[in-house]
Amino acid sequence: MTEYTPQKLYDDLVAHRHIIPVGVQGIFGRGAVFEDVLRRFDAVISRVAASDGAEVMAFPPTLDRKVLEKSEYLDSFPNLAGAVFSFFGKEGEAMELSGAIHAGKSWEAWQKMTDVVLTPAACYPVYPSFTGTIPEQGHLVDMQNWVFRHEPSNEPTRMQAFRVREFVRVGGPDTVVDWRDMWLKRGVEMLQSLGLPAQSDVASDPFFGRGGRMLAANQKQQKLKFEVLVPVISETKHTAICSFNYHQDHFGKLFDIKTQSGELAQTACLGFGLERCVMALFKTHGMVPSEWPKAVREILWP
């Protein structure tokens, strides 16, 4: 019988060189086989979505700090955000910095906040590009970005940095909700075709603090977030490997995005947590891909 614990998954992944510990929680290297499966899984998503006509965009794993501030991310998840700090001083201060570091002392005093933060969710860089009136058919964007979450953990599916294959839809409410529902069905079918016991459910984001409990309850009540879940580290508490967020006019309002009729545009996004999807495949089918079921291999290795 398969044992579902975080430690078991971590040990198995490390033993097979799928992940390479680096000494910091939630930041590990990925081995060749892990990367191969990840790229192939990503390609399966591309095939499924090929006829959608999405515009591909790529962004670095850093974001304009002003976008993060404007987006209310820091109101929702102050504990998860990561700002980039750097050195702005002159020679004398550089010597002090060096001295502090080599003496094993804190060197925070010589660091100041830069204009960039680490991208917290793959879709964040794209919203400012929609400002103005959108075309009749709206927008559909396809991205794969690295994201950062400050939540160090030994639990292998809870990473500080990981890749998300993300799609964003912008348009009127019907367009956006229909698109979300279409992908929810298609996403679950795609994952099930890979032998994963995937099920979707209403979900909420991990909003910070007591006020966050209210935001989470509202989100659930309004069915704004769905997740696709698979048993990976627990038989009972399944892991979200794909998530769907319907933002209503949240980003439309913040970034002044309008439809042709002059109303605030709505947005929705969906993201596959690529590392989690790969871990779900390893957990379900075993640590050696050459031994995976034929039907699964035919999809990933067409």
Binding site: D75, S76, R213, L215
Partner: protein, 80 residues
């Protein structure tokens, strides 16, 4: 109590409408209050009336109108 609720709404509700003249049953979310603003309103009400909203009250309806907020605070303070 209604005036105090209105004052809190004015300060924290970030609404397009004027909190001092809004109808007591008017939908505050339709008047432009965001979910995040409603959290700040909730926390300000707790501080002002020295109450703590239990989990079952932490929902949209409870903070959706001036009348609903007043009813919730009255319920939390009635046994004092």
């Amino acid at each position: 109590m209604t005036d105090e609720i209105r004052a809190i709404l004015k300060e924290h509700g970030r609404m397009t409408a004027d909190a001092t003249t809004l109808g007591e049953n008017e939908d505050l979310f339709k008047a432009g209050m965001t979910s995040h603003a409603s959290v700040n309103v909730m926390l300000a009400l707790e501080a002002k009336f020295d109450v703590e909203f239990p989990d079952e009250m932490m929902k949209r309806e409870v903070f959706g109108s001036i009348a609903a907020m007043r009813a919730a605070i009255e319920q939390l303070t009635k046994n004092r």
